[in-house]
Amino acid sequence: MSTQRFPLPDVGEGLTEAEIVEWKVAVGDTVAVNDVIVEIETAKSLVELPSPFAGTVVALLAEEGTTVDVGTPIIEVGSADASASEPAPSGAPASPGDSSGGSTNGEGSGSVLVGYGTGDAAAGSRRRRRRAEEPAAPATAASKPAPAPAPAPAPSSAPERTPGIAKPMMSVPAAVDGAGAASSGTTPAGRIRVLAKPPVRKLAKDLGVDLASVQPTGPGGIVTREDVVARADAAEPRTLATYPDDDQPWLASGSVTNDGRQTRVPVKSVRKRTAEVMVASAFTAPHVTVFRTVDVTRTMKLVEKLKADRDFADVRVTPLLIAAKAALLAIKRHPEINASWDDEAREIVYKHYVNLGIAAATPRGLVVPNVKDAHRHELLPLARALAELTATARAGRTSPADMSDGTFTITNVGVFGIDTGTPILNPGEAGILAFGAIRQQPWVHKGKVKPRWVTQLALSFDHRLVDGELGSRFLSDVARVLEDPAHGLVWG
């Protein structure tokens, strides 16, 4: 039986990678040409890939949830027909530990099982590396003599195993995600291939048990009938974690732990990007946050006036709009804050435009689209731009371009009733303004305590390029405009 591998194609003109979202086939399935085998997510879209081969799925070479480089083989299909149109790409002779010698290893070739084969960890990583090399340099692989079976580092393992049963090669999926991907920089080599006899596989399928999740107890890491039944029983309390009528989208695509008390959800897409940029920002830019409490009664009056203004009839006038304008005016007075630290070039990049970011909570997670060239907008077009940006974000249609090249950000924590916070900078920016809730509070006004509309402003800045003086002056100016919007006339 010959096998063929399908390298991840570039499905969208110049993409370099894609995430494996969902396999539509499993090892052992029969596929025909153009049967959908997998759904992938690229930077542009969700795409279903059709199989270029007909045959039996021998191996899935990439885990769901992992990001794979274009050109990396993702599936191996065994063709019953030896005269298949494309030969297997690698000319390397099948070597011990290589899974492509399908006929001898059969379905059991390779295995990744929880807690198994610690003694074989070295072999596992070697195999992983070799696979990653294959597409790039098959000649190298072929020219080297096939490595002899690794001398078993742990005395307990290899010798007692029969040749027909492959050794467990890798550790748990989590380790593949972490160590494997991190060390090689490319894709982790393998979808887990579990050892189990066909009737046991069928039982697992009937019971809806994912074989990869079963703790095997059979000899050589084989999953037994009892193991599958035990897993199915353990899976019973799954429903404990969620209730049918609960709307808990954050649990989607997660798996419930055996005791039913926790759900583990793979970190993907917006969540993953948010985590990455926040870590990058928090641990590269030294953050300093300054605060200012401010009487915004006049701003509130202005908002009321504008709401009644015919020109503003079709837009939403909010205090945030005035705050955005105030920030733009303050940037005009202190353009040094509208800048970026270029660590690689050892340069500070001052921007002569303001792309004003607004942090928006959306069903897909936190996104920060920005109003391009916001410094050019008068109040009315600025209001329109803000409305459009938030509408697009809520509809989940914010494009990468909408979010790129921001120069300054406002986060409106006030909408959640929060007074203030210490926001983390959007990477590549030197300032972020948190706009707190506006409440009526006792306030000394013209020598008397009066109920006034009061809010808190917080400004976090990157102390590498913004000093305390600049940050403080900037925030004071924002506050002064909000205190008395007439300053807009003076500075506009």
Binding site: P9, V11, S45, P50, R397
Partner: protein, 388 residues
């Protein structure tokens, strides 16, 4: 206010339709003239159209799959537009000349352009794929709308060659250019309309309004129905149901006849729907509703012609099965032959610069061949060294 809604209502009103979505022939007054133009089409002709539409759809599906398998860099789907393309293509005479955009797989099918050749450009092996003179079809044009100028210029040449209005049906020639609702906003298209109108060029502007210019709806392209776009230039326009193969044929036949007899250009708007993505790089779920796609699925042009054939007792199961078999073998051939495509010799770039031999090009070619020979020699030497 929803501009789409008002346009939709106008669309129904002005639409030339000969076959309703359920396969029955329409009997309205306004389409009577066009009905006559399609009246002579018998079972053989209708079946030939059906076959071309089915083969075009299969070509489309297979090409999309091949792109997803990494065999094509890009592919623009034509699903849903088969009737507009095949119907209008069947109205052409052999001497007519076609300037397509990049989605006219149905027209290329009718004109006999080899399916593998059609994909060369999308696989990146060649910029063209076929000799335009072989089928009187110019190459796919990916620059938006520029083919309308090429067509207009070509039509002016046809006019100057005296191939218009002679009364000889073997001689009189029309030129057709295909483009879309998105391209209608291009400057090139408007310039072409100006030149075609003032010179009375024998050219048909066949605009397939598939409702979406990538992610922009037609309402963002025009404030008046597209078929009225020609009026200001002095070009008569007609809007045809582009999912009705007979109407597309009849409207095109009229426009071609006008061109060939010296009546000048016509603007045809084929009102249709792009059922697939703009290209394989596009994801339409990001900008349009599933309900809209489902509504148009009910107007599938192939289903409509099948319904007509059945209603008029022109359907035959054995024949239909044979068409399916032909589609299967087309798909199989595409899969095999596309992968086997080889890059053209790099010296072929010198071949079509001038129509006649040119000394400077010949000198450049000789230099390039010598250069290629030398570098190949160097590579052999260095690899031999490496082996040592």
């Amino acid at each position: 206010m929803n501009p789409d809604a008002s346009q939709g209502a106008a669309a129904e009103e002005d639409l030339v339709q000969l076959v309703a979505p359920d396969g029955r022939r329409t009997d309205g007054e306004q389409a009577a003239a066009y009905r006559d133009r399609a009246a002579h089409l018998g079972t053989d002709e209708l079946r030939a159209m059906y076959r071309d539409m089915v083969l075009t759809r299969r070509f489309d599906d297979e090409s999309t799959a091949l792109q997803r398998q990494g065999e094509l860099g890009l592919y623009p789907q034509g699903r849903g537009q088969e009737a507009a393309q095949v119907g209008s293509g069947h109205a052409l005479h052999p001497q007519d000349f076609v300037f397509p955009s990049y989605r006219e797989h149905g027209v290329l099918q009718v004109r006999g352009v080899d399916p593998v050749d059609r994909l060369r450009i999308y696989r990146g092996t060649e910029h063209g794929g076929w000799d335009p003179a072989d089928h009187n079809v110019h190459l796919n044009t990916l620059v938006l709308g520029s083919q309308t100028l090429h067509a207009t210029g070509y039509a002016l040449g046809v006019q100057r060659d005296g191939l218009v209005g002679t009364g000889d049906p073997q001689r009189d020639t029309a030129v057709v250019t295909y483009f879309g609702d998105g391209a209608s906003s291009q400057g090139d298209v408007n310039e072409a309309l100006v030149f075609a109108a003032v010179n009375n060029a024998p050219v048909v502007f066949f605009c397939q309004n598939n409702q979406w210019a990538i992610s922009e709806p037609t309402s963002r392209q025009t404030r008046v129905p597209l078929y009225k776009r020609g009026e200001g230039f002095g070009i008569p326009g007609v809007r045809v149901d582009g999912n009705d193969v007979l109407a597309s044929y009849a409207v095109m036949a009229e426009a071609l006849e006008r061109a060939r007899t010296g009546g000048g250009p016509t603007f045809v708007e084929a009102y249709t729907y792009r059922m697939g993505a703009h290209t394989t790089s596009d994801d339409p779920t990001r900008y349009r509703e599933r309900a809209e796609e489902e509504e148009w699925a009910l107007r599938d042009p192939i289903d409509r012609l099948a319904a007509l054939l059945r209603a008029e007792d022109r359907w035959d199961d054995a024949w239909a099965a044979d068409v399916e078999a032909q589609a299967d073998s087309l798909a199989e051939r595409l899969r095999a032959d596309l992968r086997a495509l080889e890059d053209p010799a790099s010296t072929s770039m010198f071949e079509h610069v001038y129509a006649t031999p040119h000394s400077q090009v010949e000198a450049e070619r000789a230099w390039f061949e010598a250069y290629e020979h030398d570098t190949a020699q160097d590579e052999r030497d260095s690899s031999r060294e490496a082996a040592r």
